[in-house]
C-alpha cells in the first residue's frame, strides 16, 4: 500500500506530539511533578504547600484542589478555516472529497484520480461544491466572495439538474411525470449497478 508522508503508519501517527502546549515534564494528577518557571520553591501565603522531589523542580499545591495553581493551561489548537481559502475546481473537489486544498489530507496517501466527465458526474461535482460552500458559509456568513460563488454554483447546479432530468428522467419527486407517464419509479435507482452513467 502506498505510504502517506503525513501518516506513514498508525504507530508513527501516535508518536506525533500532542496538541497541547506546556512545559515538560507534566505528570498525572498524583505525580505532583510539574515544572514551573519563576515559582520554584516558593511557599504561599495561603495554606498551600511546597512539594519538592529529588532532582525536580517544586511547585505550590493549591489547597482547594490537586492541580497546582501554576499548572500550564492546555492549549488545544483546532485550525479554523480562513476566509478566501483556496478552492479546487468542482470536478477535482468531488474526486478529492473536499473543495479546499488546505483540508486535503489523503488517507494513506491514496488519491482518487479525476473521474470521467459525464452529465451525472458534472452535476454531482456542482452539487458537491454547493454542499461544501454551504457548510463553509454556515460558519463564515460574512464571506461575500464565497457567498457569490455559492450562488453561482447553485445556479449552475440547477441548470445541470434540469438538463439531466430532461434527458434521463426525474431526480426529484417534483420533476416526475413530466413526460406523461409516472417515471419516478423507473430504473435505475441510485444503488443499482450501472456500467456507465
Amino acid at each position: 500500500m502506498e505510504q502517506n508522508h503525513l501518516w506513514p503508519n498508525q504507530n508513527q501517527r501516535h508518536t506525533q506530539p500532542p496538541l497541547v502546549s506546556g512545559s515538560e515534564p507534566r505528570r498525572n494528577r498524583t505525580g505532583v511533578v510539574f515544572s514551573c518557571s519563576g515559582r520554584q520553591g516558593q511557599t504561599t501565603p495561603r495554606s498551600g504547600m511546597t512539594v519538592q522531589r529529588a532532582g525536580t523542580e517544586s511547585c505550590r499545591i493549591d489547597a482547594t484542589g490537586i492541580l497546582p495553581d501554576c499548572a500550564p493551561l492546555a492549549n488545544p489548537y483546532v485550525p479554523f478555516q480562513r476566509t478566501n481559502s483556496q478552492r479546487y475546481p468542482t470536478q477535482r473537489a468531488l474526486s478529492r472529497g473536499t473543495l479546499y486544498p488546505g483540508l486535503d489530507l489523503p488517507l494513506y496517501g491514496m488519491v482518487n484520480s479525476d473521474m470521467k466527465k459525464t452529465p451525472m458526474t458534472q452535476l454531482m461535482a456542482l452539487e458537491f461544491a454547493v454542499i461544501e460552500l454551504g457548510m463553509y458559509l454556515d460558519t463564515h456568513p460574512d464571506d461575500r466572495e464565497a457567498a457569490a460563488l455559492f450562488r453561482d454554483y447553485a445556479q449552475q447546479a440547477a441548470e445541470a439538474r434540469a438538463a439531466y432530468e430532461a434527458k434521463h428522467g426525474p431526480l426529484r419527486l417534483g420533476s416526475a411525470g413530466a413526460g406523461g407517464s409516472w417515471d419516478w419509479i423507473c430504473d435505475p435507482w441510485p444503488w443499482d449497478f450501472c456500467q456507465e452513467g
Partner: protein, 173 residues
C-alpha cells in the same frame, strides 16, 4: 422536511462481487461509528443548539451523512450482487447471510445491531460538539482499518473520499 434526490453524492460502481468485503463495510452503515449514528447525532443535537451558525452546520452535516448512509448501503448492495454458494460457506459473510441474506441491515461487522447507546445527545453545546469530534476521530480510525483490510479499488476510493469529508468538518466544530 427532507426531499429525496434520486442520485448519489459520489458515484459508486463496483464491478466485482465481494461478500467478504461487504461483511466488513456494513460496519460503516450501522456500526457504532457508522453513518446512521453520525446522521442521527447531528440531526438530533441541533434541536438544543443555541447558535445560528451551528444550527445550520449540524443540519447540513447531518443531511450529508444521510447521503453517506445511502452510499455505504449502495456499496454493500453492489458487493453482494450474484453471491454464490461458496461465499456463504467459506467467508465471513455467512453469518450475516443467515439473518439478512442480501438485505442491507444496520449492524456492526462484529454482529452488534445498530444501537443509539453508541451516540450521545447531551443538550449541552460543548458536550455535543466534543462528542462529535470524538466520533469523527473514531470514524477516521475505522476508515484506516478498513482501508488496510480491503483491496477493492472502488471501495478504497470511496473510503478515501468519506474519510476526507470527516477531516473537513473537524475545524468547524
Amino acid at each position: 422536511m427532507f426531499v429525496y434526490e434520486k442520485k448519489l453524492e459520489y458515484p459508486i460502481r463496483i464491478r466485482n462481487t465481494n461478500p467478504k468485503l461487504a461483511a466488513m463495510i456494513i460496519s460503516q452503515y450501522g456500526g457504532s461509528d457508522g453513518e446512521l449514528g453520525a446522521s442521527l447525532s447531528y440531526l438530533s443535537q441541533r434541536f438544543s443548539m443555541p447558535y445560528p451558525e451551528l444550527k445550520g452546520l449540524l443540519t447540513d452535516i447531518g443531511t450529508e451523512e444521510l447521503g453517506h448512509l445511502e452510499m455505504v448501503g449502495t456499496i454493500v448492495h453492489q458487493l453482494t450482487r450474484c453471491i454464490n454458494e461458496a461465499d456463504l460457506h467459506t467467508g465471513p459473510f455467512g453469518p450475516y447471510f443467515v439473518d439478512h441474506a442480501a438485505g442491507v441491515y444496520p449492524t456492526a461487522a462484529s454482529g452488534w445491531p445498530y444501537n443509539a447507546a453508541s451516540m450521545a445527545v447531551k443538550g449541552d453545546p460543548m458536550a455535543d460538539l466534543c462528542e462529535d469530534l470524538a466520533a469523527d476521530a473514531a470514524i477516521i480510525s475505522g476508515q484506516h482499518k478498513k482501508a488496510r483490510l480491503n483491496s477493492v479499488e472502488l471501495s478504497r476510493a470511496f473510503l478515501q473520499s468519506v474519510c476526507q469529508r470527516r477531516i473537513d468538518i473537524l475545524p468547524w466544530l
